[in-house]
């Protein structure tokens, strides 16, 4: 199975938000701490709604929290 192509800055954003714990973030966005751990470790790509909720929790736009890395293709798009 290929690695997910969605990266995130959740760890850094938690640090910037006064060392917010994973538990606190999980409670704010309504998921379990295990899900936050999986998202941070890039093991799980959240739904669009959850991604927006996480960005909202940090007061950041979505693209400041999540980034998309295009997979390497044989032929590059022009």
């Amino acid at each position: 199975m290929s690695d997910p192509t969605i990266t995130n800055n959740i760890r850094r954003l938690r640090f910037d938000a006064g060392e917010m714990t994973q538990e606190t973030l999980a409670d704010e966005v309504g998921v379990t701490r295990q899900t936050i751990i999986a998202i941070e470790a890039r093991k799980y790509a959240p739904s669009l709604e959850l991604a927006f909720r996480i960005a909202y929790a940090f007061g950041q736009p979505l693209e400041a929290v999540f980034q998309y890395e295009a997979p390497k293709m044989r032929g590059k798009r022009k």
Binding site: P4, G30, V31, T32, Q34, T35, A38, A41, K43, Y44
Partner: protein, 134 residues
Amino acid sequence: MPYFIYVVRVFERNGPIAQAILVAFLVAAVLHGVVNGGAHILMAVRYGAARGDERDAAIDARSLRVAYFALISLVMMGLSTIAFVGAISTPSSEGRIWVPTFSVTSQFVLFCFIVAEALRYLTQVICYRREAWA
């Protein structure tokens, strides 16, 4: 005849030893239920009510897909085997061919369900332990 009624009748026909085994099985089943229920209550008290989220739902859906695929595959393989054996078998002197009995079919169907259920739990364990994609 339903499978479990058939089993109980077989036990009834085989005397006190079989009945003792049946009682032991029922006691074990009740004990299993009590231990399982107790463990769930203990977990709920210790860690609070289980709160599922979208990742839990995704893992559950994935494990169900795996179990369904396994169940359908096994059943199709079983049906194919029956059809194949029926097609190649030679009728006996009385003109009979082999067909699976109700007991054999029941055992096979139960086996399929057990394998599917085991695969479902295995998939969940792998997804949670490895924090895999779901």
